[in-house]
């Protein structure tokens, strides 16, 4: 079995691509007790993340069932999730 993307915890709102998804398109994603199809909207490189559902600006990004940061803008289901639309919440010496 060769997977396209993995989800690590049932509460996660992102999946990790385990092969390059160059053209986006429909991808089978394995979640805890089943497989769902997600329409990936843009190229997602190997090892990068995409959204499993629509995420609002300011909403937490969840991976491993834990908070890894928050959305800096609205992210649509199937969009690439990375530095351009997520910020970390820890070690923010740049903020007052």
């Amino acid at each position: 079995m060769s997977l396209s993307a993995l989800v690590l915890h049932k509460n996660d709102n992102v999946a990790t691509a385990v092969r390059p998804l160059e053209n986006g398109g429909k991808v089978a994603v394995e979640i805890e007790d089943g497989v769902v199809d997600i329409e990936v909207l843009q190229p997602v490189p190997f090892g990068h993340k995409f959204a499993l559902r629509d995420i609002k600006a300011g909403e937490r990004i969840i991976k491993y069932g834990e908070t890894i940061g928050q959305a800096t803008e609205g992210i649509r289901k199937g969009e690439h999730v990375h530095l351009h639309n997520v910020e970390g919440l820890r070690g923010r010496g740049d903020r007052p």
């Binding site: 990790t16 385990v18 090892g47 990004i61 834990e66 908070t67 997520v86 970390g88 070690g91 010496g93």
Partner: protein, 385 residues
């Protein structure tokens, strides 16, 4: 369960039998290298320390040097100094004498320069080599093993394949009575809840939060987003977006056991089981600190690929994906990328890593050892003048 190790007179167990030529100050590093090159079978290290350290920093560097030199993988150590430094061979010798470590000391100013010191050093190092040659491996219980864990050049796959597989091996070793060290404090930031839920008591949980808060305060004092450095540029290219994400993947290396103790950088644990050592993220600084803490084997996961080794302990390299394994096969011992291809599972690679730890502890050379990788670095607090 046994492995074949060196039982030292003080009861500590070694997995290697090195003779180390160790400069206690930067001014003696070239002389130490010249001695080591002249006496095949010995090794030396270089570092920029030994003078100008204040207070806590002096304590830290003395502790790291002494614990590194007294390590059971070192059969004997030749300590080389200049003569006017803060951290002298006599100071380190005083620290390690109580441990029963075999040592010789040498000072460049006393000997009268480079050539005379190298000549005298050759004789002393040859004497230590002769004594080391009498040591024999014998069966010892795996509960005597301390395995350090580290990830470097991570990608998002590290947290999906290599790190959980190392965690699986860590759980196996701890179940057999052994010890595993988890380190790299910046990569505990964001994963405190996961670790504190597994802390043996409230004091340990409080200590975990204390060391991550102190590390987080460094970026706050500097007025920068910690992401300007962590995750590293290569981590980000590999798909890691935030430090919290990197941390949650990184702590999987420690497995699922109870956290028994938190130790300072290069500090020796008094407990067995899962131990956290406070350290900055720097790969070689972490490895050196874990070896000083007593680790006789390091297991190192990588997604982007790294050749890193250590002077006195084997470093076993695990790749997170098959692409980097193919590109850097000469540097990587085990590929956890097969988990993604469905050919292997976290459990089966975990078992493979555990068995390889036993083999390596018993004398099998890792690829980093075969290639001669001996990177060495000690943490510095910046308290120097």
């Amino acid at each position: 369960m046994n492995f074949m190790g060196y039982r030292r007179k003080n009861g500590r167990i070694g997995t290697r039998n090195h003779v180390l030529v160790f400069p206690t100050v930067i001014c003696a590093t070239s002389v130490a290298e010249m001695i080591s090159r002249a006496v095949p079978g010995t090794i030396s290290v270089t570092h920029p320390h030994g003078c100008g350290h204040l207070g806590r920093e002096k304590e830290l560097i003395v502790r790291a040097m002494a614990n590194f030199c007294a390590h059971p993988n070192v059969a004997g150590v030749l300590l080389v100094g200049l003569g006017c430094e803060l951290i002298t061979p006599e100071l380190i010798a005083g620290e390690i004498a109580g441990e029963g470590q075999r040592f010789e000391i040498l000072s460049i100013q006393d000997e009268g320069g480079t050539t005379a010191t190298v000549e005298r050093g050759k004789t002393l190092a040859e004497g230590l080599l002769e004594q080391a040659a009498t040591a024999r491996r014998e069966p010892v219980d795996v509960s005597g093993l301390i395995v350090g864990t580290k990830c470097g050049g991570s990608d998002t796959l590290s947290g999906l394949t290599a790190n959980p597989a190392v965690g699986n091996a860590a759980d196996r070793l701890i179940a057999a009575g052994g010890t595993v060290i988890l380190t790299e404090t910046p990569e505990l930031i964001g994963a405190e809840d996961v670790l504190c839920r597994r802390a043996a008591d409230e004091g340990i949980a409080a200590r975990i939060r204390e060391i991550t808060a102190a590390t987080e305060a460094i970026s706050q004092k500097a007025g920068v987003d910690i992401r300007s450095s962590e995750p590293s540029p290569g981590n980000k290219e590999g798909g890691l977006t935030t430090l919290e994400e990197k941390s949650l993947g990184a702590v999987l290396k420690g497995g699922t056991s109870t956290v028994r103790q938190v130790v300072d950088y290069a500090g020796k644990p008094s407990e067995k089981g899962l131990i956290i050592m406070d350290s900055p993220a720097h790969d070689a600084v972490c490895n050196t600190g874990m070896i000083a803490a007593g680790a006789q084997v390091i297991v190192f996961t990588t997604g982007r690929g790294t050749p890193l080794g250590a002077p006195t302990a084997p470093v076993l390299k695990i790749s997170s994906n098959s692409g980097i394994y193919r590109r850097m096969t000469e540097n990587i011992d085990i590929n956890a990328g097969d988990i993604l291809d469905g050919k292997e599972s976290i459990n089966s690679i975990g078992e493979l890593i555990f068995n390889e730890i036993i083999e390596v502890a018993s004398g099998k050379l890792t690829k980093a050892e075969v290639l001669g990788h001996r990177e060495f670095a000690i943490h510095s607090l910046g308290l120097n003048v």
